[in-house]
Amino acid sequence: MQNNDYPTPLPNDATLEATEKFNVVAHDLPKVDGEGLVLGRPAYTDDLVPPNALYVKLVRSPHAFARILSIDPTDALALPGVVCVLTWKDVPRIPITRAGQGNPEPSPHDRFILDEYVRYVGDEVAVVAAETEALAEKAAGLVKVEYQKLKPVLDFEHALDNPIVIHPEPGIHEMFPIGFEPKRNIAAAYHMEIGDVEQELAASPVKVETTVHTQAQQHVALEPHTAFSYIDLQGRLVIVTSTQNPWHTRRLLGLAFQMPLRQIRIVKPRIGGGFGGKQHIHVEPYVAMVTMKTGRPARLALTRREVFEATFTRHEMRVKVRLGANPDGKLRAIDMQVLSNTGAYGEHALTTFMVAGSKTLPLYNKVSAVRFGGHVVYTNKVSAGAFRGYGAIQGLTGLEAAMDELAHKVGIDPVELRRNNMLHEGETSEVFRIMGEGTEGVAMNIESCKLEECIARGKELIGWDFTQLVREVAPGVLRAKGMAIAMQGSGIPLIDMGSARIELQDGGFFKLHVGATDLGTGSDTILAQIAAEELGVDMADIVVYSSDTDHTPFDVGAYASSTTYVSGSAVLKAARSLKAKLIEAVAEKFGVAPKDIVYTQKTFMTADGTKSLSLNDFSYDTLYHDGEKMKTIEATESFSGSKSPPPYLAAFVEIEIDTETGKVNVVHYVAVADVGTPINPNLAKVQIEGGLLQGIGLALYEDVRYSEAGHMLSHNMMTYPIPSREDVGRITVELVDSYEPSGPFGAKSAGEIGIDTPPAAIANAIRNATGVRLTEYPFTPERVLAALKAAKTQHT
């Protein structure tokens, strides 16, 4: 949209209280790798490929469901320069999951690296390696594959108990009970109930029922999935890859190829975006196969079309919410029933589904009864996987639509309805204890929740007036406001673990090694900020290296909004522990007790001021001068959260809707968030701004479309456009002062919370504008117009 009618520029944020308290943390420092990336220095996987690498291309299925009868590589192999063609007969038949998750994985092991069956258009059939990319591509086209076509299941509404069974094969299994019933096309199922929902609904004077259908969405990280592999001097397999989770990748490859994990090293260089899309093994197994077969380095970079057709999407979900309330709007019962489409394989099937409830239902914690349940079903579409928001965005879209319907029904300002029913600081929700990610949850008291402040500030920024939520700006053109609130988590409690090692170097600086995975979010920077703050040094004194299974300590990876909270806590613990060791060593040198050492301004002093030693001088002493006392001073610490404190966000949107064309534009999107102490306010804000735009994309434009035979129609950036700079009027993000006692320097997560609200807030604004509740996403002009027309017909 070309919108020149921008609201007046807003004043800068009030300075956060936290900025005053800290020296490095809560400051807007530039990303450590920023300038290098802008200048385009070689940094991403495909910039670092060894010169003699083989190029790998994959033969992919042209059918949505088929059995491979034969594969004939003769013509491909006859091309000079083609080195090998590998098929399902070349890999051990071990069921795995491609989902990078904890061990044991909550995803079913229902997938083989290569299989005799193909279950979606784009499923991997064979691996071709050649001396050049052009040759590999040509050879892939010459591999003759004979298929027995099978009738696919494409509509997830008809997948359950369909006579066509997508996974009839023996050997596939769940790792622990997740409701896996492949004979019924069920990848996972779950049910929970607190209180008696039916009874409470029956007793509620006001009832509301809303069903929304959120579509699959593509991540569209600008860097396509890429990996290369080689055998190192010690005969070990090294894979350099654009992954969000090096350790899970190593573990899954070890399982798939029946290799000891000690034989594998995974290195993550810079990544060009992830959003959950790189939390899986999509390319690594295939380069590994070629390198193991040929002994030569091998490189595979997916084309954009392959990223669309054959990596993962967001889970399509149908979310039905029923609310029971009193006439004053007091909420009594919530029932959320969900059907989720996992596509051909069950990666993240159970967990994304559970998060639809576990990270939304606690928002309204004062109900007497709450229920959540449903199924995750298989279809012959590309698999769904992890994607920022991870079920919460789908669940919230249903819940916040129902909340607004309730507000309309009882005639209360939707803001007040939420304020009267929502979670507050010091409270809890039974849902936290009952629902985890694939397992039971963890009981948690909310120690930081500034939703009230977020709402108050958001109202101010958008100019919320309940009596005037809609106005006509031109004939048939309406401007209307809507809102929604959201929560997320900060890592998966008792499952996610991160570690950090910090070591003093000569010159008085520190090496910080973390397993945590920076996918462009700036985690290397914020983790260095945490270390610098605690060690009382400048950012420049911390040299950070991350994500290498040989050289950095363990970390589960970057997902579930975990890095700041989980990995950040590990860094803080390591820095504290190192500081204590430094003080102890200096105390011994000075012949005083550690408690008599004061450390400030990079200098150690005795409390009486008689002796002092700079950190720089001490670093040389301990490494070069102190004879038999010489030692490396380092500390390694780990952190695993016993809770997952949610960040919160209040969103207010002003949209413009043209009732003649059905076009909806976002004029202004206001989001005020409580992320605890933002370790780097700018980076936290940009995370939220980026999440909002991705959520707006889901609400209005982005759709994964298929032909009737199951071919993806939206397989490039022309047919699947992502929002450009001109598509949205203005986005305003502010952070409120908040401090999470369990987080590093008071921090919670910021990575996912931004994406959650747009589909709900925009739908609510359209409802306020037109009286029509749109439930089919995305809200394309065609759909909006059809819904408006249908409502008109019904009315007359």
């Binding site: 807007d28 990336l37 385009g40 975006g273 084309t303 940009v686 980026g690 986005i731």
Partner: protein, 153 residues
């Protein structure tokens, strides 16, 4: 076949296939600052300047560059560093994959406009440079501050 062109001021003769796009040829010649994002001329990550004008090198046949002057972000490194300071100050660099192509387009815009473009002009000029991380707001803040600073110089 071979093509002869100037890359960042240096005369080079490089090999290419008849149907090959400029992105491939530049990357093979070691210009990793030219990124491959979408293969269809939509994302702008592959932007280079040909005779001073931004083009999408993934949709520009390499043979067309014969005898031309091709500039990547590395060819304007000093100016790019100035802009990078503003971009990183806003935290809007994020994953950085779009950054070289995007920054190059910002520098081209600066040279094309005689006065400071307004926000709508900035958004329009850069509409072909997509970013999936930042939501664009921080980038817009950075561009405005950069242009104002350059204008003041």
């Amino acid at each position: 076949m071979n093509i002869t062109l100037r890359i960042n001021g240096k005369l080079e003769s490089i090999e290419c296939l008849p149907g090959e796009m400029l992105t491939e040829v530049l990357r093979r010649a070691g210009h990793f600052e030219v990124k491959k994002g979408c293969d269809t001329g939509n994302c702008g990550a592959c932007t280079v300047l040909v005779d001073g004008k931004p083009v999408l090198s993934c949709s520009y046949l390499a043979v067309r560059a014969e005898g031309k002057e091709v500039t990547t972000i590395q060819g304007l490194a000093d100016e790019a560093k100035k802009f990078a300071a503003f971009l990183t100050a806003e935290g809007a660099d994020q994953c950085g994959f779009c950054a070289p192509g995007f920054a190059l387009t910002v520098l081209a815009m600066k040279d094309e406009f005689s006065s400071i473009p307004d926000e709508a002009q900035i958004r329009h000029y850069l509409a072909g440079n997509l970013c999936r991380c930042s939501g664009y707001e921080g980038q817009i803040r950075a561009i405005k501050k950069y242009l104002e600073a350059q204008h003041a110089e």
